[in-house]
Symmetry: none
Subunit: 202 residues, 4 copies
Amino acid sequence: MSDVAAPLPLDPSDSQGPPKPLRADARRNRERVLNAAREIFAEQGRDAQIDDVARRAGLGVGTVYRHFPTKEALLEALAIDKFERLLVIAERALDASDAWEGLRDVFWKTAEQMEQDRALSEAMAPDALEVATAERVRLQDAGRLLLERAQKSGAVRADVEPEDLPVLMCSIGAAVRRSAGNPERWHRYVELVCDGLRARTP
Amino acid sequence: MSDVAAPLPLDPSDSQGPPKPLRADARRNRERVLNAAREIFAEQGRDAQIDDVARRAGLGVGTVYRHFPTKEALLEALAIDKFERLLVIAERALDASDAWEGLRDVFWKTAEQMEQDRALSEAMAPDALEVATAERVRLQDAGRLLLERAQKSGAVRADVEPEDLPVLMCSIGAAVRRSAGNPERWHRYVELVCDGLRARTP
Amino acid sequence: MSDVAAPLPLDPSDSQGPPKPLRADARRNRERVLNAAREIFAEQGRDAQIDDVARRAGLGVGTVYRHFPTKEALLEALAIDKFERLLVIAERALDASDAWEGLRDVFWKTAEQMEQDRALSEAMAPDALEVATAERVRLQDAGRLLLERAQKSGAVRADVEPEDLPVLMCSIGAAVRRSAGNPERWHRYVELVCDGLRARTP
Amino acid sequence: MSDVAAPLPLDPSDSQGPPKPLRADARRNRERVLNAAREIFAEQGRDAQIDDVARRAGLGVGTVYRHFPTKEALLEALAIDKFERLLVIAERALDASDAWEGLRDVFWKTAEQMEQDRALSEAMAPDALEVATAERVRLQDAGRLLLERAQKSGAVRADVEPEDLPVLMCSIGAAVRRSAGNPERWHRYVELVCDGLRARTP
DNA sequence: CATGAATGAGACTTCATTCAT
DNA sequence: TATGAATGAAGTCTCATTCAT
């Protein structure tokens, strides 16, 4: 009856400050919610209901809200999660010996990743820009490095800018989604983009 | 930046081909609703309310519902309208003397068109596939012709299929939206796609 | 633009003052509306829409409203119409030579009449008491006479009062409706009521 | 006028047999909703609003909808409840030593019951046939038994069929409602029906 | 006078969020 | 702490009635 409304300290995805370690069962519940949310939003789009997420997770709504104070927050957590995966892809590519191979790899693996959570991306797409900022910045940084190297090596045309990369990624995402069911489609598309990026040799 | 894609002024005389000869004022109202809807959905996304559309149109909700029995139906009408504009672009391109120029033109003008109703497209995106079927089929047909000609003329690589065009269009749409505010971004993107499409000369 | 809202003088069912004679086409329209209303309310119950009535009548809603200023009013007109038919039955029965035969006849014919517009009665039932007052009074009067005669002739038990007749009529109506499809049911019921009414001979 | 039909006090413990073990407070709320609905529908007829029911129950609309997903469902629950009370009457009558007394009792007590929720019945009447099927079947069964016994004992005319009972019940209901305010009316009516049912002794 | 498009209060229902158990 | 019942603002849609054409 006293400080009940004090901010619940449970959300480890909070981008400011060090995430507090969760008790084992709390972490398990958080994961369950996230998985259920992924499924449900993928199946029903962004208008899916929190109740359904809770049911799928085998938990009460209250528990979902304990971990994610808002539907928005849950969706954002999913987005962060997704960008973290992309980040892994991009940062690994920095280790590639050949700069162009690294960049090329990012496109392919990102596309593959996007095919995984196609439906989910669709559900989150419109908000994409105002969300998961931290992860997006890091992704941007990795991209800049990859691009600069590839350009220095002469493999990529010089007029492309780092800020073009998110544009490319988004367009790949769109292509993957629109290819629904026909991977050859987006395969061709990614090839085409890669070709387009290669430096023109006059 | 040419005036190629000057916003079509929503010609109120061609929304309906044969269906019903609407009374003059009814037609005017229908157009008002459509315009208001475009604005509102662009501003607030797909979750905008019909009441707002009505208010913006200066009409009662009832009138909106008389013309579009469902929110869905209104959104679909908007989609049809959009695809009709793309259709005009594509069909005009069929008249081009040079096949590749025709196809290239379609990409550019479509992108310009998409920049017009960027926000609106975002609002409609997820449903795009189950909607405006008739228009989409005609668009597909025009696309097929353009592509075949361009391939025969040797300007476009042979492995591209007609079904790749929608994928390309969608990806261009995504690129345009993601470029928000920076046209050079998607300009570069469209160039890149065009380059990628040109036949490789070994 | 001036006295447009002056009371329209069209409604001949207005119980006060002499009904103004209608122009031929106006009368025809009124009749059409009434017939359509009978059908529609019978089919869909009291919640049917005026638009449907208008459509069925082959007229615009405006015309319906010209004749019946209110949905209520239309329903009442139907009720009046129904009670007028019952009235005819009762008044004819006054001519019967045998008092009991007359009364008996009223029960049977009323039941038959009710079977006709079973669905319609159902739609109007709940309001029955506050409507068609004039007709109901006349019906009551005829009933009183019939009953008194029959009682004087010794055919009907003395404790029945004139006010019991509407109760009997309503119960017959309910029986008829509940017999839906099985006339023998309500036949038996009417017989039972008649038997119950005969004077007990100890 | 005896105390035979003292209003059953809406026993909150027997509304649901096996379906779901409701939490104590949930059950209490369900009962509150049902009571409020009874009142409101009785007062305002079937077109009463759910919001009013909720307000009367001192609960939010959402709670009403949690218990009854539809206005229809709420009305049906009320109907079931009503038939359950009639069922109790009929099944108790099966214990009567004298068959005719048992049947007679059913008519009287049913009428008394109907006087209780006169207004409510009026509100539900039209739908009565497609609703509360299970309860109506059991009622029918009890009725059949009562009738057969009474016929075997020679107290009731042989040509009456079990299926006539619902017809009789409905007609009694109509009579009770139409007697509004004058119990002697429907008393006389029930007597008359009972008399009509007695076997004719030639 | 007839027509049917327009109106908008108000109905039903949903669902994110809170809170008692 | 977890649960799920309760809440009620808000959204979609209907339909009796009005009024410009």
